[in-house]
């Protein structure tokens, strides 16, 4: 416990030191990034200790008028600390090179203060065992990330994204405030332990609290349709911040939801249905909107919505298992969902850092402008490829392992359970398969268009320096290790799921034994696969030795002057799927078709605005605006009127008090 608190202190002090030394950008970067590295390292040691057999630690200190503030480090908190600290540490190293200190005069330490505060607040969020402390840390996290989002505040689109984010995150917090106040009122204390007991005493309100948690935490996590801020804010932030926000900050929403579920205790079966429904919506629509994007980081942001959907599917199946007493569904569902939290942090962090390297080198993220980068940025290309294969859930990388667990749980639910479990399990199976197929399509597009083929426009391109390469290398290796060594890592999940559901860890371990053994065989199959790839590569090389191997242009049907502009574009690649799902996507096309006998320029532009923003939130805020504008009648601009208002207010208050 003291180690993790030391890590928080290092982060805060390092951030302040960066601010103070702002005059020299180099010193500020040293303090800011150094604090994240040292603090992250210390925290990782503490988290790993807590996961590998350490006893759950707790700490309560008096906290002025608010009573006591409690902190705790149980397996669930430690499990979330791993990706938070690990990815933040790597992102800080990356950011030290990525944030060009010469570009911003003046407060070069401020982004680093915000970054360190963001990391520290995420740590406190998962440690807090008191509603008020949790909300304070939650708010610091939102504010710090807001300032990081508007780092490029000279651009209007960035400021706009920042506002959307600020409004959305506070709307979500409002729901959390309501939930914590209501739970605290019922419990008579804001301590989590007391709230957990209150849940048992007030079964009528538990459902409402759960719904508040789904909306409040779902806004941070990016559940559809509360995801609207996500595709705006994540691309706007500097890339290493995008990695942290998309990789781990949104996971604090998942943490909050899981923690609340653990407090609210044995769930009715509809909780599982609700999360499965949310997971399917977020997963399928998230990946469809990703397919329709032309901006690489925006595409990745929508994929976060998709992966949050997969996590929700896992949690939903886990809840179904919990409510019907199936410990296999419980451990495989929750385990798969929570493992996907870590896996997504690894590969999404990798992909955002890769996208950042592309932006750093070429100055653009527009898919239609890029192409053929793998020849000039071979290392970035390889790292991005690893991330792309992992996020599609393909073997032998880490994404496969967590999706495997969710699939197996759903198969068990579909094959054995009663209709109330079998029906949602089937929906999970079909949904995951569709999501998987669409994600593969989307990343074939992202990787194929950006890194393969010929450049569509002349842009400068080169691999970044070591500080940006090293984090990508580490994350790529983590993708491979998470895939091949999964059977060794899996047993730790039993403790984590036990911390959520209160089930005995031993019973969960025995339920987890079978999937662990299966993943062992799957890992073996993956090794065989890699060996076959190696063997066939050697065979091909042996066959081609001493034979004529020529070079030529790509087959072009005999056309004499092919150009790079004739390649398939990202839009045309995705068009058939976009068209198939046009009911949900509502892509707008602006087509100027060639006309007359001697056609001049023709053009086609497509744009896919977010459906939830356009059809739900925009009309809602518009309506609210109109409603409130009626109050403008009060604003007369005459002093007498305002004096009258004051008199009326005082009289009403007096009457109320006198009564």
């Amino acid at each position: 416990m003291s180690l993790i608190l030391l890590a928080v202190a290092v982060l805060v002090l390092g951030g302040l030191a960066a601010l103070i030394t702002s005059r020299s950008a180099r010193v500020a970067t040293f303090f800011g990034a150094g604090a994240a590295v040292v603090g992250g390292g210390l925290g990782l040691v503490a988290a790993i200790g807590a996961l590998t057999g350490g006893t759950p630690a707790a700490l309560s200190t008096p906290w002025g008028v608010y009573g006591v503030a409690s902190l705790g480090l149980d397996p669930l908190s430690a499990f979330f600390l791993l990706p938070i600290l690990g990815l933040s540490l790597l992102a800080a190293i990356y950011g030290a090179e990525y944030l060009d200190p010469r570009r911003k005069g003046g407060l070069s330490g401020l982004p680093w203060l915000c970054f360190d505060l963001l990391v520290a607040s995420m740590v406190v969020v998962v440690l807090a065992r008191n509603g008020l402390l949790f909300l304070v840390a939650w708010e610091v996290m939102s504010i710090a990330s807001f300032f990081l989002v508007i780092y490029d505040h000279e651009k209007e689109s960035v400021r706009d994204a920042g506002w959307v984010y600020l409004v959305a995150t506070h709307l979500g917090t409002a729901f959390l405030l309501a939930m914590f106040l209501s739970m605290g009122h019922a419990a008579g204390s804001l301590e989590f332990a007391a709230m957990g007991q209150a849940a048992a005493l007030a079964p009528a309100s538990v459902g409402a609290w759960f719904l508040l948690a789904v909306v409040g935490f779902g806004t941070k996590a990016g559940f559809m349709p509360f995801h609207v801020w996500l595709p705006e804010a994540h691309p706007a932030a500097p890339s290493h911040v995008s990695a942290v926000m998309s990789g781990v900050m949104i996971k604090t929403g998942i943490y909050g939801l899981v923690r609340t579920i653990s407090l609210l205790g044995p769930p009715p079966v509809w909780w599982g249905w609700l999360l499965v429904a949310i997971g399917l919506t977020s997963g399928v629509l998230g990946v469809l909107f990703a397919l329709a994007q032309h901006d690489l980081k925006r595409l990745l942001a929508y994929h976060s919505v998709e992966n949050i959907g997969i996590i929700a599917l896992g949690l939903g199946v886990g809840l179904l298992g919990w409510s019907t007493g199936s410990s296999f569904l419980m451990v495989a569902g929750f385990g798969g969902g929570l493992l996907h939290v870590v896996n997504h942090a690894v590969f999404k962090g990798l992909l955002f850092l890769g996208a950042g390297s592309v932006l750093h080198a070429t100055g653009t993220l527009d898919l239609e402008q890029l192409g053929g980068l793998s020849k000039r940025m071979p290392r970035t290309a390889l790292a991005f490829l690893v991330g792309a294969v992992a996020i599609c859930g393909l073997p032998p990388l880490n994404g496969f392992v967590s999706e495997f667990l969710v699939y197996v749980a759903a198969f068990r639910g579909a094959s054995g359970g009663s209709a109330e479990v079998a029906a949602p399990s089937l929906a999970v199976l079909a949904g995951l398969a569709l999501i998987g197929g669409l994600a593969a399509a989307c990343f074939a597009k992202a990787y194929g268009i950006v890194f393969l083929g010929e450049p569509r426009r002349e842009v400068p391109a080169h691999d970044p320096g070591w500080a940006m390469q090293l984090p990508m290398l580490v994350l790529a290796l983590a993708c491979v290790a998470g895939g091949l060594a999964a059977p060794l890592l899996l047993p730790a999940l039993a403790d984590v799921v036990a911390a959520v559901t209160g089930a005995r860890s031993l019973e969960l371990s025995s339920s987890l034994a079978a999937p662990t053994r299966w993943l062992g065989v799957a890992s073996l199959a993956a090794v065989v696969l890699l060996a076959l790839v190696g063997g066939l590569t050697l065979l091909r090389r042996a066959l081609l030795r001493n034979r004529e191997v020529g070079q030529a242009g790509t087959w072009d049907c005999g056309y004499v002057a092919p150009t790079a502009r004739m390649q398939y574009t990202a839009s045309s690649f995705a068009q058939p799927l976009i068209r198939l799902f046009r009911v949900a996507l509502r892509t707008r096309e602006h087509l100027e078709a060639p006309s007359t006998l001697f056609p001049a320029d023709a053009s086609l532009a497509t744009h896919t605005p977010d459906v939830a923003r356009e059809r739900l939130f925009h009309p809602m805020f518009q309506g609210l605006n109109e409603l409130l504008s009626r109050l403008r009648a009060l604003q007369q601009g005459r002093v007498q009127m305002y004096v009258l208002y004051i008199v009326i207010t005082i009289s009403v208050l007096l009457l109320w008090k006198l009564e």
């Binding site: 198969f411 398969a433 197929g437 593969a440 799957a522």
Partner: protein
Amino acid sequence: MHPASIVLPASGLVLAPLLFGLINRTKAWFAGRRGQPLLQAYYDLYKLLHKGAVYSRTTTWIFRAGPIVGLSAGLVALALLPIAGMPSLAAFGGDVVLFAYLWALARFFTVLAALDTGSAFEGMGASREVQFSALAEPALFLALATLARISGQLSLSGIFTAVTPATWAAEGSSLALVAVALFVIVLAENARIPVDDPNTHLELTMIHEVMVLDHGGPDFALILYGSSLKLWVLGGLLVNVAVPVRTGNPWLDGLAFLSGMAVLAVAIGVVESTMARQKLLRVPHLLLAAGAMSALALVFLVR
């Protein structure tokens, strides 16, 4: 372990290209031609393996990795395929997921290899491939979930061992629906009519064939062999459902399986001789219908 449970999977390695010969012979018979020799695919493989290669200047190592990853994934999937009531070489719970995702991995690299050439034709094929496979995948999972519901098992071996004449008697309607859905999936995943025409000669209308347009020599041999394995393995799923011969003698059961594969190849030939290819815009309907049939089969079971 019975020797037949090793010999039968290994027979796939040798016999897979023969399926192409059977299909082509059937089509030739319908057209009133003599047709290619039955062993033509073997001759082609031999010829290709003895050739050199020409690579496009645009391509990178991805282009060379495509055929290799594709064939490797197919070989591992072959080891997961149970045959005639005997468990596969590497059976484990949930191998269903690995099985489906191995094909997805193969497809991902084939698509990337196509995009690596920078050719509009290959981009077009790749785009169609990812579209149709995204729809075929849920159909495959629903079909397998139906079979898992019948057997209560999570491994391919458990699932297909449980399909016996007795289960056909009890759950015949569900199994028949699953068999039809699997047949559509086999046709779609293996680029056959009515989804794709392996014999078309216009790049614009192809799907699978256009993606491998720039491959030649040994690389193309790997692709050809890999696609014959894919037809063998996915066809094997269907034959396991449709030909549940359980005499108790593994050799006889295995012989029934192999005859089933031959009949499947002839059936594909008949489909290709009697049907035209669907319009590309219609193909999704076909795949959705396959998914709907699997879902319906499940409703019969869960009701």
